[in-house]
Amino acid sequence: MPEQPDAGLVSKVTAVIAKSQRIPAETITLDSTFEELKIDSLDGISIVFELENEFGIGIPDEGVQNLRSVRETVEGISKLLDEKAKAEEASVHAPPAAKDDTA
C-alpha cells in the first residue's frame, strides 16, 4: 500500500489545477491522470506556474515534462516543499559569517 499524501496538500494542488484549468474541483481525484482531465503539456506549464506561485517554490523544467497525473504532481510538490523546509532550517542554523571574512 503506497503512502497516502497529506490531505491538505492534495486539496491545495487540486484547487490550483481546478482554477487554472477552469474545471470543477470535484472532477479531480488523486488518481486522475492529466489525459483523463484533458490536460496537455501546454496546460501543464500553466498549472506549474500557478503551483510555483501557490507554494513559493521553483519547479525545474525536467520535472514539468514528466508530470502525467495529479498524484505525481502532489508527490513532486511534497518533495520540493521538504527540500525548501530543509534549506530554510539550514539557513536559520548556519553559523554567522566571521566578521573578518573579507572574501
Partner: protein
Amino acid sequence: MNRVAVTGMGLVCALGNNVAQCWPLLAKGESRIRPLADPGAPPYKFRHGAEALAFRPLDYFSEKDLLFLERFAQMAAVAAREAVAQSGISFAGELGNRSGVITGTSVGGQFSEEEGYVRLYRENNPRVAPLTIPRTMSNAGASRISFEFGIHGPCYTVSTACSSSNHSIGQAFWMVRNGQLTAAIAGGSEAVFAEGLLRAWEAMRVVSPEPCKPFSTERRGLSLGEGAGMLVLENWEHAVARGATILGEIIGFGMSSDAHHITQPCVDGPANAMLWALRDAAIEPDAVDYINAHGTGTQTNDITESHAIRAVFGPKAESVPVSSTKSLHGHALGAAGAVEAVATLLALEHGVVPPTANVSTIDPACEIRVVHSEPLAAKLEIALSNTFAFGGLNASLVLRRAERV
C-alpha cells in the same frame, strides 16, 4: 509564369553584420550562441542567446533617424541595403511602381512597448513616448525599406510567429512569378532580447539552459537569436536584361495549417507544407539535395519534423543531408525563415552544407541524415528550407542554385 531570380542578399545576425562576415562561420559551423550580455535580474533560467553584439545602429543611421526606428526595423533596413547594393537594382521610375516590399516579424518593436509599460505601470507616469506607435508597429521595417528605396508597390508585413519570413518570401515569390511585380524585397527581422519577451519565453519553458542541440539525444530546447535576412527577388528576364548577377532562384513555396493545437505540432501539417512546396516547384522529392530544417532543438519539433521529412521523402530521408543552422545563429523567430533562406542560398552557391553545431549524438528516433559537427561538401542544386510556427502554421521554400553561365 516567370522565373524568379535572387539578385541580392542581406544578412544581420549574431554571426555578423553582412553576408561576407556570416558565411565563413556558417560554413565552418561556428556557433555564436553565447552567454547573454545582460543575464537579467533575477537571472533568466536560460543563460545563452545569439545576440548581434556587433550591430551598432549609429554605424548605419543618424541619431534623428533612430528616433523612429526600433532595433528590428534597423536590422531590416540594413539587411535590405546590403541586398539592394549587391543586386545593383535601382527602383527609380516605373520599376518603383512595379516593385514591392514584404517583411515578416513575430513581435515587432518590443522595446518601445516595454519602455511604455515601465513608465505607465512602474513609474505611474501616464505620458508614454509620442513615437511609441510608429516604433512598435510591425510594418516599421517594411515602410522604412519602401521609402529608403522609393518602392511604391505593395508593402506589408506578415506576422505568423516563427513562419513569418517564409510566408513573406513565399508571397513575394508568387507575386513576381505571376507577373504582378517585377521585383521585390522580401525577408524578415526580429529583435528578441527585450526583458518582457525573454521572461515570457522563460515561462514557456522551451528555451534550453545551454546552447541548443537540434536533433541531439541531449536536446533541451531552443536558443533565441536576433537578426534580419533580406532578398532581392527579381523577374528572371528583367535581371538578365540588366546584366545582374543571379545568385540563386526560388522555385517553390508551400504552406499549411495543422488545425490541431496552438503549440503542439503534428506530422501532417509540416509534411504538407513540404509536399506542396515541391509540387509548386514541379519537382520530385528525389531532386532535393539539402534540407535546412526548422530544427529548433525542442523535444517535440525535432522528432515531429524528422517524421514529416520521412513522410515526404520516404527512404531518401536517410540520405538527404539535413542541418539546423539555428544552432549557429539562434532561433530568430519571425526572421528565422529569412536568415535561413540566405544561409541556404549560400550553401547552394558554395556547395557546402553548414553543420548543426553543439551535437555529439543524433537522437535515434530522428531517422534522418543530420549533418553535424563538420561541414559537408557536396554538389547541391536544390534545397528545401522549413519553418513551422506556434499556431500550427507551416511554410517551406524550395531554392535552386544559380545556373552557371
